[in-house]
């Protein structure tokens, strides 16, 4: 009986010890796997939108700025209302001289100028910096604000050689915005012209521009925002390693 009891206690003890050793080892393994994944996956891209400078087409005084920095605008939306009383009075004068041809031409020009006192958005996009304030007087063709265009949004990244190979094998690449908690499908596009010389192994030296498959979706993104690019092959089957790593990642994440 004593032998059986001793055997049971021994087995219990040893099982506990071995489980402990196994746990420590798989935790260490998880850490290594996370690191290597983060490394291969450590691809961030930064959003680059076209910068469109909005210019005044006529001179005047800025009455109201109807948009704010960060606001989405569509092409044709009113951005700024200007006023120019001189122009208004001139128009009346020109219109008064009905039979004078040059006066009529001047009147037409003045009418267009008055229309241009309402500054409209030239493209879809997001309002960036404002270069003027309400109440200031502006010249013709002066900058009033910056719009980040929603057309042709790009994602700029720097890759290692391995990562570039991986991208070429993928059928589609995902980019993830943690801010919006949203995934975007991106398409590899142009290579940046200058390749840097690497100073260490694994250094990123290839510059690449991605474009967005659905550009309209990219409207919400801000210029210079960072997105995580996922290089993992989502079609891969789960290996036993994944069971262990998911387990520990789940526990350690709490």
């Amino acid at each position: 009986m004593k032998k059986l009891g001793s055997f049971i206690i021994n087995t219990l003890y040893f099982s506990l010890i071995i489980i402990l050793a196994f746990s420590i080892s798989t935790i260490a393994l998880t850490r290594k796997v996370n690191e290597s994944r983060a490394y291969t996956n450590n691809l961030e891209g930064s959003v680059t939108k076209q910068k469109v400078v909005v210019l005044t087409l006529t001179q005047g005084i800025v009455d109201t700025i109807t948009v704010q920095s960060g606001q989405h605008v569509k092409k044709g939306d009113v951005l700024v209302k200007m006023s120019n009383p001189v122009l208004q009075s001139n128009l009346k004068v020109y219109e008064g001289r009905v039979n004078n041809e040059s006066a009529q031409t001047e009147a037409n020009i003045a009418k267009v100028s008055i229309e241009n006192l309402t500054v409209k958005a030239p493209v879809d996009g997001v309002v960036g910096e404002l270069y003027t304030a309400e109440g200031s007087s502006v010249e013709e063709f002066s900058k009033i604000m910056l719009i980040y265009s929603s057309d042709d949004v790009r994602l700029q990244t720097e890759l290692t050689g391995d990562q570039y190979q991986t991208i070429q094998k993928r059928s589609q690449v995902n980019a993830y915005s943690s801010r919006l908690n949203k995934n975007f499908i991106i398409v590899p596009g142009l290579l940046k012209a200058d390749e840097k010389t690497p100073t260490g192994p694994n250094e990123k030296k290839i510059g690449l521009y991605f474009t967005f498959k659905d550009n309209a979706q990219a409207t919400d993104l801000l210029n210079n925002e960072d997105l995580q690019i996922n290089l993992e092959d989502t079609t891969k089957t789960r290996k036993p390693i994944d069971i262990a790593t998911d387990f520990w990642n789940g526990i350690l994440a709490r």
Binding site: I17, I18, F22, I24, T26, K32, S36
Partner: protein, 494 residues
């Protein structure tokens, strides 16, 4: 006569004495250089372990060296005339304390003691185990059999209790598992014609070396008895090891009896004697044959006892601070005590390569591995092959048992630090308590399991091929020795 010291030092030992300082200093230069620090948390561990190893090897080196260099006129002349026995007719009590050791072993010791060739001896069996069989044997041989009702202070209490009934001028003590040879008393008593000598100690010799564990510890002990104890002799620092010795009764009485403690009373008693100015002699001739522990449990028990002795001396009665001891004595006792800190060093050395495989962290910055190797390998050889240098051979069992002994040393350390009370269990006794082997070897199982698991983890995405390879080999070796220890340490077949 002159006391035998290391008469002719073997060439390999001479090589050790010459090389050790060079290899040690060379490595110390590397490891102490802050430029070589790797991981900031592991580095102190490595440094700590290395300092312990350096200290222990260094103290051994110093002991041997100073003994070699002692000029002839410093060595004391000991009066030794065999005729003194007939002239003086010293009386001697032979005490055999026992506590639940296996009957056959105790019976053998008793019979051998009975047959020692000297007329003026009286035997006493001090049985703390209440064995009927032993009582019967004692009666049949007409030997005094003493039991006591209260068993405090274990062996020393047992001895002190027995001494009450003893009237001899001297007394010898034999542990139940050490059987004296016939000439023991005749050979050793003449030393006591020098009035100041209070202790004559002879080596422990182990005959059961066919057993794995026994052979491993026997070789470790050989180192002690061949080099260390004789060297201590030169400085009057030889200490009692608990068996195979003769004490002068008057000297023991003057310090109030054998030191009253639950363990390590032998070395404590010697310190007290030295404090009073008495002298001790180590006579390097095998005059008794004993048995080394054969199973893991018994081996660990013994090592735990010895380690507790060392640590408790170190922390509560550190010989460095004891008045009445000479500088040599202080140093020698100190060196013996610190030997058990090697448990920390061994554990660190076992764990660091595993930590590298699991987490990729290194205590030292070995990016230029050649530099580290050049500094480390000579040191490594000096430390790990020490028994080879000094004894001429190195057995796997020695390495195994040394590696495995980190467990009893560390548990002894914590027991002493936390003032754990200690119940003395004889090395060979079968305890009534339900002992489970797992209690003794769980650290080893843990390290073995961790080693095996760590290898695949280490090779996943390995950072540096050669470092990982070297570490893997090292881990496999260590685990192999531990496995060997566990496999061969099972219950001995009787």
């Amino acid at each position: 006569m002159r006391i035998t010291k290391i008469k002719r030092i073997p060439n390999t030992a001479l090589l050790f004495v010459l090389l050790a300082p060079i290899t040690i200093v060379y490595y110390a230069m590397y490891v102490l250089n802050p430029a070589n620090i790797g991981n900031i948390y592991l580095y102190p561990l490595q440094l700590f372990a290395d300092m312990i190893a350096i200290f222990i090897v260094g103290s051994l080196w110093l002991t041997i060296l100073l003994d070699l260099l002692q000029p002839e006129y410093h060595k004391k002349e000991i009066k030794y005339r065999g005729e003194w026995l007939m002239e003086h007719r010293p009386t001697i009590d032979v005490l055999i304390p026992t506590a639940n050791e296996p009957y056959e072993i105790v019976a053998n010791t008793i019979k051998k003691a009975y047959m020692m060739d000297y007329p003026y001896k009286k035997l006493y069996i001090l049985d703390d185990g209440n064995s009927e069989k032993i009582r019967t044997l004692a009666e049949s041989l007409r030997i005094t059999y003493i039991q006591r009702s209260q068993k405090h202070f274990a062996k020393s209490g047992n001895l002190n209790n027995g001494l009450q009934f003893c009237k001899g001028e001297f007394f010898a003590v034999f542990d139940a598992d050490h059987a004296p040879k016939q000439l023991f008393l005749k050979q050793l008593l003449p030393f006591f014609q020098n009035k100041n000598i209070a202790l004559v100690q002879t080596p422990q010799h182990f005959t059961n070396t066919d057993n794995f564990i026994a052979s491993g510890t026997a070789q470790a002990q050989e180192l002690f008895y061949k080099y260390i104890q004789p060297a201590k002799n030169s400085y009057n620092s030889a200490f009692c090891v608990g068996t195979n010795m003769i004490y002068r009764r008057a000297a023991i009485d003057s310090i109030g009896g054998i030191a009253a403690r639950s363990h390590s009373e032998d070395i404590w008693t010697t310190i007290l004697l030295h404090e009073q100015g008495y002298e001790s002699i180590f006579f390097n001739q095998i005059l008794a044959e004993g048995r080394a522990p054969e199973t893991i449990t018994t081996f660990f028990r013994q090592q735990n006892r010895w380690a507790r002795g060392g640590f408790s001396l170190f922390f509560t009665h550190n010989p460095i601070f004891i008045k009445g001891l000479s500088i040599d004595q202080k140093l020698q006792y100190f060196f013996s005590n610190i030997h058990y800190f090697s448990g920390f060093a061994i554990l660190t050395y076992l764990l660091l390569p595993i930590i590298y495989l699991l987490f990729g962290m290194l205590p030292l910055n070995v990016s230029e591995s050649n530099v580290w190797l050049i500094h480390y390998i000579p040191f490594f050889v000096t430390v790990y092959f020490l028994p080879f240098f000094l004894l001429g051979s190195l057995k796997a069992s020695t390495i195994s048992t040394s590696l495995a002994s980190f467990a009893p040393y560390l548990s002894a350390f914590f027991a002493v630090i936390t003032n754990n009370s200690y119940t003395w269990v004889a090395t060979e006794s079968k305890s009534k308590k339900f002992t489970v082997i797992a209690q003794d070897i769980w650290p080893h199982i843990f390290i073995i399991a961790l080693s095996l698991f760590a290898i695949p983890v280490g090779w996943y995405n390995e950072a540096d091929f050669f470092t990982t390879l070297a570490t893997t080999v090292w881990v496999i070796l260590n685990a192999g020795f531990l496995i060997l220890f566990i496999k061969n340490g099972g219950e001995s077949k009787k």
